[in-house]
């Protein structure tokens, strides 16, 4: 993917995140969001194990956390 396409992709993703904010979310509408399962990472220990597994077995890097540990396996 060229650098210009990447910029467009990033802008598109950013726009799709920021813009669909039409519905008002009142503080009392946060009942569902208060659940532990309503997080971008609901089970951190599963993400940590997966990061480790896929980092060792594939060519890509996680990207979820800035300070991941090293293991020299990729």
């Amino acid at each position: 993917m060229t650098s210009r396409r990447r910029t467009w992709l990033a802008a598109l993703i950013l726009a799709s995140i920021v813009f669909p904010g039409c519905a008002t979310v009142h503080p009392w509408d946060r009942d569902l969001l208060a659940k532990k399962s309503m997080r971008l990472v609901p089970l951190p220990h599963e993400l940590a194990a997966d990061d480790h597994i896929y980092f060792s077995k594939e060519g890509s890097a996680g990207g979820m956390d800035a300070a991941g540990g090293g293991c020299g396996c990729n």
Partner: protein, 443 residues
């Protein structure tokens, strides 16, 4: 009785107490959102990993977190990785004897058949420790500092990171900015090989440094009562020793199509990695759907797409089940080869490591979670099956003059024929099973 002017001024003054129900949508760990005391949280996890006829990993992990009333959290994590088994060397199958130096340092002699991929056996123990500190600053801002150290037989890593999250007014959008720095040392067993030199050549003793700098920016958005969206972009720069010291590349005789020699692999000394991750959490009537998509690219030519889907379905009052599917596809590094042709001069870089090849991984499995009755602890049990394989033609024709592209095509067919007897373009399939047990308890 009249109230004082001060009280009047305080009339509609809003004091956002530190304990107001702010939802820093997913950017703060669960610890910071914990309601009342408990002041501690313990997480114990065990990972069991097995590849068909290859590596076995047992990894227990533990984490203790201390929580404070103002939202501060301190955590200490420990993980021990015991790895045993066999890993492909990168050499092509051959009925002749092949020798490689494994991670244990001793030369391993492997007699192979034309249908089995040569592997070397190894045993390693990796210990990792990490510290984390989350500090809320005011009610909208939070800063996380982390440090970690890991050590295994031939690799040591020391690093730290800083991340800050700010919730924008309106409390719908949270911005995160983070950076990390790692300083690693690679000291291969048996010494560091010269890249693209015969495996039997003497190896240099000593350490090889490696530096990794990472930056990330993230945004999460509460779209509606049911829908949370997140996007994260990160870049990391690596420099130093990035080669796998135990992997080799076969040299194939153009006439017989058989591997006749092998050289150690060699990768560039720098690597810039980029990725963009989009995440969505949507609460349906009773279930929650998690969708994650990541696009990754780096300057080695590796590009990948990852799509991850999970559905959390609540069973009873205290248990749930979460099926999971993940599909992954990767384009190979530009210097990835299945083998090189014996005779002509060697290229500058070459690697036959399947992890840099045209890889596909499919995962499916599920997690079962349940609360222990009477206690506040929660168990999760996850079983997954992964299947990984290489597909397609190599990106660059081999540098031989055997018809431009013919060399590598012949190699690929030779592997495919040896691997499963047919030339269906798919080979080196590996089956992997994992079991992950987790237990979290506040106290």
């Amino acid at each position: 009785m009249q109230l004082s002017a001060a009280s009047t001024a305080a009339n509609v003054r809003q004091r956002l107490g530190a304990a107001a129900c702010l939802l820093l949508a997913g950017s703060l760990p669960a610890a910071a959102q914990a309601p009342a005391p408990p002041a501690w949280q313990l997480e114990a996890t065990g990972l069991l990993y097995g590849e068909q006829a290859r590596a076995r990993v047992v990894e227990p992990m533990g984490r203790v977190t201390r929580l404070y009333a103002n939202g501060r959290a301190l955590s200490l994590g420990l993980a021990v990785d015991a790895v045993t088994g066999a890993s492909p060397t990168g050499a092509l199958p051959s009925s002749q004897v092949q020798t490689t130096t494994g991670a244990s340092g001793r030369t391993t002699t492997t007699t192979t058949s034309s249908s089995i991929l040569p592997t070397h056996t190894f045993e390693d123990l990796r210990t990792a420790v990490d510290l984390g500190w989350v500090e809320p600053l005011g009610t909208m801002l939070s800063v996380t500092t982390s440090a970690h150290y890991s050590r295994e037989q031939d690799y040591a890593s020391l690093g730290g990171g800083l991340k800050s999250s700010v919730e924008l007014p309106g409390r719908r959008i949270t911005l995160t900015l983070g950076g990390g720095y790692n300083r690693d040392r690679v000291f291969p067993s048996g010494g560091t090989p010269m890249g693209l030199a015969p495996d039997s050549d003497p190896r240099a003793p000593g350490d090889n440094p490696k530096e990794v700098t990472t930056g990330l920016v993230g945004l999460s958005h509460v779209v509606s009562r049911r829908w949370l969206l997140g996007v994260t972009a990160s870049e990391s720069r690596e420099q130093g020793y990035l080669t796998d010291p135990y992997k080799v590349v076969s040299l194939v005789d153009p006439a017989t199509q058989l591997p006749v020699a092998q050289v150690t692999e060699k990768r560039p000394a720098t690597r810039t990695r980029d990725d963009v991750l989009g995440s969505s959490v949507y609460h349906l009537d009773h279930d929650i759907l998690y969708v994650n998509y990541r696009y990754y690219w780096d300057d080695w030519g590796v590009r990948s797409h990852t799509l991850d889907l999970k559905l959390r379905h609540v069973l009873g009052v205290a248990s749930w089940v979460q099926p999971h599917v993940r599909v992954y596809g990767q384009a190979p590094a530009w210097f990835f080869v299945y083998g090189l042709t014996h005779g002509p001069p060697l290229p500058e870089f070459a690697s036959a490591d399947e992890r840099l090849g045209p890889l596909r991984t499919t995962t499916f499995g599920g997690t079962y979670g349940f609360h222990v009755p009477g206690s506040r602890g929660e168990f999760t049990l996850r079983a997954e099956f992964l299947y990984q394989w290489l597909v397609g033609h190599p990106p660059q024709p081999d540098e031989t003059a055997s018809g431009g592209g013919g060399g590598d095509d012949n190699l690929r067919r030779a592997i495919a024929a040896g691997d499963n007897g047919t030339d269906d373009g798919r080979h080196l399939g590996t089956s992997i099973g994992t079991l992950l047990i987790g237990y979290t308890v506040p106290f």
